[in-house]
């Protein structure tokens, strides 16, 4: 099957999967009882509770509530976020954009740098460069993220003053229009250099910290699979043809070593979503992760449900991307049946 046809088929299956996810999300959210609690104050009377249940449609039967919620999804109504006093659908795009901006850069760092470092170390097996890469890999995988983030912030924010907190200088942020919601991209689209500088100044450190864990995982896998590949016969053949070592690695071994790495990338992307909660909390990054942390701690079901749906879509797309990457890397992989 052609890659394009395969992608289209997979995308067509997406709504069905999302429907199943929606049933699951709704069901799970109601296992703990009615979501009314978050809209209540501690001293409300029973009548006041009933009034709020009516306002938020929580007085109806569960199937009716599900249909109403699903209908809302199609109309772009994701319910009312009680932690932010706004419709979820109004806040979500802003938060998603902020998180995407951070995660995409973190993913570039993790994937790009990880593959590079892994190749660098694997090709210099057991030499100093290899040991150095392994230090990075092991530390990235073993340092608890919240602790690492705090240490980094103390150094770069408090001591050196190289990185600020948050996502933007509110004044500069207010100076430009935001067609995409990605601050750095919007700043470029506006041709506003100070805003772009501001965006990058805020972005680089949290992205680096967020990408670090994924970077470590990918470096490790890339290194060991390259070491394995380099012992294969085809590598010997290439070498015996007189190809310089760097061509042997770059053009032969690396490509094959990428296969297991790509599998890990799917997982690493999940790590990014997970890590974004911690990094956003500590760096004051106003994204989805921080918002969801607030919602979970306080029990705001509408917000949590919307987040799970978005996360499911992201995961489904990431998995699709991994499958497509397999096919691209190894033409022997048969997509579909």
């Amino acid at each position: 099957m052609e890659i394009r046809e395969y992608v289209v088929r997979r995308l067509l299956k997406l709504p069905l999967l999302l429907f199943l996810v929606s049933v699951l999300v709704f069901g799970l959210s109601r296992i703990g009882g009615s979501p009314i609690g978050i809209y209540l104050e501690h001293d409300m009377t029973h009548e006041q509770v009933v009034e709020l249940e009516e306002r938020f449609g929580l007085d109806e039967s569960l199937p009716e509530q599900y249909v109403a919620w699903l209908g809302g999804l199609f109309r772009g109504d994701l319910g009312f976020s009680a932690v932010s006093a706004a419709p979820v659908a109004t806040v979500l795009p802003e938060k998603l954009a902020a998180s995407l901006e951070l995660s995409v850069l973190a993913a570039f760092i993790a994937f790009g740098l990880g593959i590079g470092l892994g190749t660098f170390g694997g090709a210099r097996r057991d030499r100093f460069a290899d040991h150095a890469t392994r230090v990075i890999a092991v530390s990235g995988a073993s340092l608890p993220l919240f602790w690492f983030a705090l240490l980094v912030l103390i150094l770069f924010y408090l001591v050196l003053g190289w990185a600020p907190l948050g996502r933007s200088d509110p004044y500069l942020y207010g100076q430009i229009v935001h067609p995409t919601g990605l601050y750095s991209v919007d700043a470029l689209l506006n041709g506003h250099w100070p805003a772009f500088v501001d965006a990058i100044r805020h972005l680089w450190l949290p992205a680096l910290v967020l990408g670090y864990e994924g970077l470590a995982t990918i470096t490790r896998v890339m290194r060991s699979s390259l070491v394995d590949e380099l012992q294969e016969d085809y590598v010997d053949l290439a070498r015996s043809k007189g190809l310089p070592e760097r061509f042997v690695i770059k053009r032969h071994a690396r490509r094959n070593a990428l296969m297991p790495t790509v599998t890990v990338m799917g997982v690493a992307f999940g790590l990014l979503l997970q890590g974004s909660v911690v990094v956003e909390l500590i760096f004051q990054w106003p994204g989805l992760g921080r918002w969801i942390a607030t919602a979970v701690l306080r029990g705001d079901q509408a917000t949590i449900m919307a987040f799970v749906l978005v996360a499911a879509v992201i995961f489904l797309l990431a998995n699709l991307a991994v499958d497509v990457a397999y096919a691209y890397l190894d033409r022997r992989v048969v997509l579909g049946e």
């Binding site: 104050e41 006041q48 009680a82 408090l158 004044y171 760096f283």
Partner: protein, 583 residues
């Protein structure tokens, strides 16, 4: 085959791939350069507000020319900023008092009232309160404009009050008005009159100066959805159109709210613009404060050891908050709903000896040290800032011998019991109350077991709205009442909100006596008489306790030393930005 595939890949790929790598390298360099340039810019100025002024002052966007006071808080208004929709003691309350104003307000340095939108504070002496204490007349100040440019008249005041009463939102505080207001009337353009259902000594401090009595622009509301019973107004949820020295400019959810000085403010203008930073993580709060991004933070006792010794940070301790931490006894537990494992009978707390024994067993000192970081003091039932506070009123101290004697007398010492207490998870000051009670009781007698049940806020509030309430005990902090009457009525009156839910009539030795004393003290306009009555109540309630009042939490404020003229009156609910400046 393999090799061929590879070659095909290489042939066209080697140049194709080099370009993206080059681009990537260039981008990285650009980013680094940007980061360095930005870093220098940041270091050369003090705060982000100043930096903004330097970067874009010429574009004249309001607020570029003055500094910004940055206040970091742990959340944001959860029902919006409409005075009709915010809950008592919530973050919404705290925005309302910055952007809206009241007829009278509390002065920075004490319990005295200042005339604000009214030109005088009504008293019987100046003739603005009727002989029978039922009618209050407010002369309205001339020449006040709202943030939308319209002028303030008595119509706006009446409209604001009536609006809250008509909407009567469950999340709002309409009850504060309806409890006592019989009617409102516009006498003329600049005179507003209120008639009460009964004389109330606490009307000015606790009603006129309460959040639902904030004055909103009638035109702004009418142009944006008007008033509907039981329905929140979306415009007013997201926007504020008041007369205050700051106006709300933007609100990015879960991030920040920005406020600018109101240019046409009628009184002394604010010195600085202001920003409310939502900071969810405690570590980030401390970092931001130490790094100079935040000027003032919401004080959490656990921060203090982290910032102590930082010469740029001031820890200001003056007086006590209005929100004593307390643990409630439920005298009306439905038997079928007793938490699993609890062995107490539903009438366990009917016995005053048991309630007193709990009070004697609790380790107050440990709570103040561990739960409040030393920033607190043993409490009486009235916080020190309130009328009627008496430093000599009886307070409970841990007395294990007395607790043992009372438990023996009540017949629980040998048999023992297991009892649950409900507490909101993640609150740095609530859970220690439960844990210390557990520790105190279980150390006293191994037959005593206390289960501390921690649940998310949503579940806690849901449990709280139950009637009857399904836990034997729960922990919370008090609502910030500004007059002892509301506090006494809410927490101790046998027919008050908690008295009914928790069944105080089953427990008080003489419920009618307590009810009468509370009502009499609320009606009286004679301050000394009120003080005497509250003194008597404090003694009666001590011997027949319905709560463990764990401690009065000290009013600790933590701010940067650049902040000048810092002043905070606990009766305000929250610091008022209008008074602060920065050097």
């Amino acid at each position: 085959m393999m090799v061929t595939t590879d070659r095909r890949g290489q042939g066209s790929g080697s140049t194709r791939r080099r370009i993206p790598s080059l681009l990537a390298l260039l981008m990285v360099l650009a980013l680094l350069a940007a980061a360095c340039v930005g870093g220098e810019a940041a270091q050369s100025t003090d705060g982000e507000g100043d930096q903004a002024a330097a970067a874009g002052g010429d574009e004249g966007g309001g607020g570029g020319d003055v500094g910004t006071f940055v206040h970091a808080l742990g959340g944001e208004p959860t029902t919006g900023v409409d005075p009709a929709a915010v809950s008592a003691g919530s973050y919404g309350d705290r925005v309302v008092i910055q952007v809206y104003e009241f007829l009278v307000d509390i002065a920075p340095d004490g319990p005295d009232l200042l005339p604000m939108l009214a030109t005088e504070v009504p008293t019987q002496e100046n003739g603005l309160v009727s002989e029978d204490g039922l009618t209050y007349t407010f002369p309205i100040r001339e020449g006040i404009t709202f943030h939308d440019g319209t002028d303030l008249t008595a119509d706006d005041v009446k409209y604001s009050w009536d609006r809250v009463i008509t909407m009567d939102l469950p999340e709002g505080q309409a009850g504060t008005l309806t409890e006592i207001v019989e009617s409102t009337r516009v006498v003329d353009d600049l005179t507003f009159e209120v008639t009460l259902t009964e004389p109330a000594a606490w009307f000015l401090t606790s009603v006129v100066n309460s959040v639902p009595a904030a004055v909103v622009s009638q035109d702004a509301v009418e142009e944006n959805g008007g008033v509907a019973a039981g329905e929140p107004n979306e415009f007013m949820r997201d926007n504020a159109v008041g007369t205050g020295p700051h106006q709300l400019v933007s609100w990015q959810r879960n991030e920040q709210m920005t406020f600018e000085r109101f240019e046409d403010y009628w009184g002394e203008p604010a010195a600085l613009d202001a920003r409310w930073e939502v900071v969810v993580d405690d570590a980030a709060t401390v970092l931001g404060l130490r790094g100079g991004d935040f000027d003032l933070v919401e004080p959490v006792p656990q921060f203090i050891p982290e910032v102590e010794g930082d010469e740029n940070i001031v820890i200001d301790e003056s007086g006590f908050l209005l929100e004593p931490l307390h643990l409630a006894f439920n005298l009306r537990i439905p038997e079928e709903a007793m938490p699993e494992g609890d062995t107490i009978p539903p009438d366990f707390f009917h016995d005053a000896r048991v309630r007193r024994a709990f009070n004697y067993a609790f380790d107050y000192e440990a709570f103040i040290q561990a739960g409040l970081g030393g920033q607190g003091a043993p409490a009486t039932y009235l916080p020190p800032a309130l009328l009627g506070y008496d430093p000599d009123a009886p307070k409970y101290e841990q007395d294990l011998a007395e607790a043992e004697r009372l438990f023996r007398e009540a017949g629980w010492w040998d048999e023992g019991f297991t009892v649950s207490v409900l507490v909101e998870a993640g609150n740095p000051t609530f859970s220690p109350v439960g844990l210390i009670l557990k520790d105190s009781l279980e150390a006293l007698n191994p037959n005593f077991n206390v289960n501390v049940v921690e649940v998310a806020e949503a579940q806690f509030d849901e449990a709280h709205a139950q009637d009857p309430f399904e836990y034997p005990m729960w922990i919370k902090n008090g609502d910030p009442f500004r007059d002892p009457h509301q506090l006494m009525f809410t927490y101790f009156h046998p027919d008050g909100p908690w008295g009914q839910t928790l069944g105080y009539r089953e427990g008080y030795e003489d419920p009618d006596q307590i009810a009468e004393l509370i009502e009499e003290a609320g009606r009286s306009t004679d301050v000394e008489e009120r003080e005497r009555l509250y003194g008597e109540l404090l003694r009666l309630l001590h011997d027949d306790p319905m709560w463990i009042w764990a401690a009065d939490e000290a009013n600790v404020q933590i701010y940067r030393d650049e902040v000048q003229d810092f002043v905070y009156n606990p009766l305000w609910i929250m610091p008022r930005w209008r008074y602060y400046d920065k050097g």
